[in-house]
């Protein structure tokens, strides 16, 4: 079995550091290294939810405290052997965290600063409860009588070793998550949670899992710390200090990298020590403050992030030779290429909406729309501004919940399903204003959809699939670039590549052509035709009329949320009602 090089490296370093207690150094070193490990566990675990997904929690102190009190209580009061209290501490913290997450993560608007404040409030509530109930009751808990497990030659070295093992474990977990499907999903949530959900990422579940792991590890650190300090009080534990320090360490090191918080923890601990041991602890604290300010302003991605971004920029400009692309240069057509399908009375619709309605605060965006879309056709969805076209796409893809009516896809009722399930059922969409995941490379943006969408491929296959679609849309030379480096035309094509990577049977295109130059529009028309020829059904919203005329087999026209005409393009566009909807009726 081949072990990942990074993991081997971490284990090796850990083994090396574990030998320190036997080197006969003064006990100070063990305490110092303990602190580094302690903060590493806390910062890394915090980063798993907050850094990766962007849900900045200020409540890490609460879970740290829960772990601390669980261990202290079990060891000192219930006389458990100390090592057994550690998994209990982690479990308690994890369960509490997930229960909290279950309630909070479903409230859509509690994100960003609000989530931070809510978690901060939790810290104080938990602290108060602990202080006032028999868990603590006021005097705190003494652990002097607790027997320290004999892992190392001395008590302090044993505690150090426990923390070291915790740190190694947390580093490995952090690393594994970042390179896993969970990590990718979390990064997507960070950049655009709603888009991630629509592309197939099960956002609620992933957040819960990340939060659970994060809290569990914090609880573990708390448990070990209880033994280290040997006297536990609520006042010292449930404060704003732990969360703020942890945020500082992670942000300083870089929140997007699995090792970032570890770097930050080491740097800050060393800095603080250096200043405290010197003559000027106060200057030290001030220096830490200045560092934080400077880093946020000039290196918002943290130390690690700053250096990684520079190397990434260099990689992005390398042209990728075609031979590096796995598989054939042109993705094979899955079925024989075809032109407009013959629709007979027996043809079963791929998508059928009945009496579909959507209202927003008094505005009826969709009003009882009945529409059938047949397999293999290209249907243009038209109408003046505000007629409900984008709303239609948003409802069918699950971005919005319908107010009334039904949506059937391949006979299956879609209304009410969470967006990520609709994506997995075989429907993909593009956004009118491209919403790529800003911190992921172009390649990752596409491979993510291949993993989470209807195709549900594994990591390796998803990457191959992504390359195919980047080829198809002409973006393969930009595979390692960030979306910000693309122009509008390329970003639109990235949207297309993403939509196609999940191998959908129905593709919903929302004004893909708007903003493109005439030459680019021609290219896009060709591409859309090719997509249909490979077996997908397309519904596209457009205003560029020559594209509509060139591409659409049928068109459907909406006005004020109602469907006013549907049929072959030429005929419909000359329909009196349609003309008047677009041009208005003249009044003197």
């Amino acid at each position: 079995m081949t072990i990942d090089k990074t993991i081997a490296g971490i284990l090796g370093a850990g083994a090396l550091l574990a030998s320190i207690p036997w080197l006969g150094l003064p006990a100070f070193y063990e305490s110092f290294l303990y602190l580094i490990c302690h903060w590493m566990i806390l910062a890394l675990s915090w980063n798993i939810l907050s850094g990766y997904s962007g849900y900045f929690s200020f409540g890490h102190g609460a879970f740290f405290g829960i772990g601390m009190y669980t261990s202290a209580g079990l060891a000192a009061n219930l006389k458990w052997p100390f090592l057994w209290t550690l998994p209990a501490a982690a479990l308690m913290a994890a369960v509490f965290g997930m229960a909290l997450g279950f309630v909070v993560f479903r409230v859509k608007s509690v994100r960003g600063e609000l989530f931070a404040l809510l978690t901060l409030a939790i810290t104080f509530v938990v602290g108060t409860v602990v202080l006032n109930t028999p868990i603590d009751g006021g005097p705190g808990i003494y652990l002097n009588a607790v027997k320290v497990p004999a892992i190392g030659p001395t008590a302090s070295s044993s505690i150090y070793l426990m923390a070291l093992m915790g740190a190694v474990a947390t580093l490995i977990i952090s690393y594994r998550i970042q390179s896993s499907k969970l990590g990718l999903g979390l990064f997507a949530i960070h950049d655009d949670e709603d888009a991630a959900e629509v592309m197939g990422v099960p956002t609620l579940n992933y957040k819960l899992v990340a939060f659970g792991i994060s809290c569990g590890l914090a609880g573990l650190a708390g448990g070990i710390h209880a033994l280290f300090v040997s006297y536990v009080t609520a006042g010292e534990t449930f404060t704003i200090v732990v969360p703020l320090t942890v945020v500082l360490m992670s942000v300083l090191g870089g929140t997007r990298h699995w090792a970032g918080p570890a770097v930050g923890a080491t740097v800050i601990t060393c800095l603080l020590y250096f200043f405290t041991a010197g003559n000027n602890p106060i200057a030290g604290k001030a220096a830490v403050g200045v560092i934080l300010v400077v880093v946020i302003l000039f290196m918002p991605n943290g130390i690690l992030g700053y250096f990684l971004k520079r190397t990434a920029r260099k990689n992005a400009t390398h042209t990728v030779p075609l031979s590096a692309v796995h598989g054939s240069a042109e993705p094979e057509a899955e079925t024989a290429p075809r032109s407009a399908p013959l629709i007979t009375l027996e043809t079963k619709p791929l998508l059928e909406v009945r009496k579909l309605s959507k209202a927003f605060k008094g505005v009826q965006a969709l009003d009882g729309v009945d529409l059938k879309v047949y397999p293999g056709e290209i249907l243009g969805l038209l109408g003046p501004n505000g007629s409900g076209k984008s709303t239609f796409i948003n409802v069918v893809s699950g971005h919005y919940v319908a107010s009334g009516g039904e949506v059937f896809f391949e006979g299956q009722q879609l209304a009410g399903l969470p967006a990520h399930r609709i994506a997995q059922a075989g429907i993909a969409r593009t956004y009118q204003i491209p919403r790529p995941f800003a911190h992921l490379t172009v390649l990752q943006n596409v491979s993510l959809v291949a993993m989470f969408g209807g195709a549900a491929l594994d990591n390796k296959q998803a990457t191959q699939e992504a390359w195919k679609w980047l080829e198809f849309t002409g973006l393969h030379s930009k595979a390692f670039a960030l979306p910000d480096d693309l122009n509008l035309h390329q970003r639109k094509f990235l949207e297309l590549a993403r939509a196609l990577a999940s191998r959908p049977r129905l593709v919903l295109l929302d004004e893909v052509l708007s903003g493109l130059t005439p030459a680019e529009i021609n290219e896009a028309i060709e591409l859309i035709r090719k997509i249909r020829d490979r077996g997908a059904t397309i519904v596209f919203v457009e205003h560029v009329m020559r594209a509509v005329m060139a591409l659409a087999d049928r068109v459907a026209v909406l006005n004020y949320g109602k469907l006013i005409a549907v049929g072959p393009a030429q005929a419909v566009m000359q329909n009196k009602e349609v003309v008047s909807a677009y041009l208005g009726t003249p009044h003197a």
């Binding site: 003046p384 509008l488 903003g515 529009i521 560029v544 509509v548 393009a569 041009l583 208005g584 009044h587």
Partner: protein
């Protein structure tokens, strides 16, 4: 009065408009039509100072305003009725109107301007203390136009004022715009409702895919095939 010369506007790195030249003479009512996504709103926002212009120049009343700071455009004499109204919904109708005359030279005439607006839109009299967000679409449009008038502009910019409004209300609103123009304010109107816009305007420009594809007298433009093609593709 307004001279737009060869301007280009970008959204980020992508060009949204290029090579656009148009003008509005004192007292004129000019309209800009074109399908969605053609760049009409971008154009009007650039003229209002809401969007940086890249290349080319903007001149108003002889003054070069191309590099002028956003908040100075109102002082120069340009006021906008933005797409979607964009009222200050948390504030009362009265406050919204007052804010229209925030600049010093409009503030002096605040009372008179208010009377003018209320005579134009009498339905607002009873709604003065209501929060702007509580009004119907048509009433909100009236407030938006009123707010711009309070700035006593030489040039009034309107971006798709008929959007989302019932046809009967649209009629009233266009009549109000006609009156405003008749009283001396130059108007640049961006509209989706081509027939109505052409009935109102003396001259018109047609924008498609970021460029001006046709211009001329409104009455004869309506019959030209460019418009049919741009909107309906046939």
């Amino acid at each position: 009065m307004l001279e737009v010369n060869n301007i280009a506007v970008n959204y980020g790195a992508a060009p949204a408009l290029w090579d656009v030249t148009l003008s509005v003479n004192p007292g004129e009512l000019v309209c800009v039509v074109g399908p969605n996504g053609a760049g009409k709103t971008t154009l009007i926002n650039a003229i209002a100072g809401l969007h940086r212009v890249k290349g080319g120049s903007l001149r108003f009343n002889g003054q070069d305003i191309t590099q002028l700071a956003s908040h100075k455009f109102c002082d120069a004499g340009i006021a906008i009725v933005p797409e979607g109204r964009r009222l200050f919904t948390q504030m009362s109708v009265y406050d919204n109107l007052e804010l229209g005359s925030f600049i010093a030279k409009a503030k002096v005439h605040r009372k008179a301007s208010l009377e003018l607006v209320l005579s134009l839109f009498p339905a607002l009299k009873v709604k003065l203390q209501s929060p702007a967000g509580a009004l119907s679409g048509g009433q909100q449009q009236m407030v938006a136009i009123g707010r711009a008038l309070m700035a006593r502009p030489g040039l009034l910019l309107l971006d798709e004022p008929s959007l989302g409004l019932a046809p009967s209300i649209v009629l009233d609103m266009f009549n109000a715009i006609r009156q405003i123009n008749a009283q001396g304010t130059s108007v640049l109107l961006v509209e989706q409702n081509v027939a109505m816009a052409m009935a109102l305007a003396s001259r018109a420009y047609v924008v498609e895919e970021g460029r001006i594809v046709a211009e001329g007298q409104a009455s004869e433009l309506l019959t030209r095939p460019e418009i049919q093609k741009a909107y309906l593709g046939v």
